[in-house]
Symmetry: C2
Subunit: 67 residues, 2 copies
Amino acid sequence: MKNLRLKAARAGKDLSQDDLAKLTGVSRQTISAIEKGDYNPTINLCIAICRVLGKTLDELFWPEENT
Amino acid sequence: MKNLRLKAARAGKDLSQDDLAKLTGVSRQTISAIEKGDYNPTINLCIAICRVLGKTLDELFWPEENT
DNA sequence: TCATAATGTCAAGTATTTTTTACATAAATC
DNA sequence: GATTTATGTAAAAAATACTTGACATTATGA
């Protein structure tokens, strides 16, 4: 499923996928795939993304509770 | 660097590396390597570990601040 | 309309995670 | 002493994260 929290946090910093990719050292396609929810990034990449966006792992990557 | 928080959380549930491996669906060596800090697990595996141990991503995997 | 920026996606290749198998050591129990 | 449990480690193979390059769509602005 999509990671809308990541998308929102990125928008909150006014960064494009490409900007975030460069800041985290991965390709644009990787950021796109993570937001799309296609896959399963490594924890180090998640941490790098969190640091750029000023968020924590729980805020961006902990699964949302669906009551 | 070693993930001592993970090791402690596992000990707190009285689980061996092998127990945790089975509960999270990976090999014992993978758990060992993560605790040893050798590498970079995927976020889904981190989440699975957190769920078994009753912790969050931030508690087990957010880098410790070294003042 | 034309150009550009942002995003989605696909296919093929590379890099790294993870498995499997195996052997080693230390501690606990019989 | 022998056996079992827990852990460390290593090498080859399998699975998958990630890259590169390419092409498409949509939206924005000159």
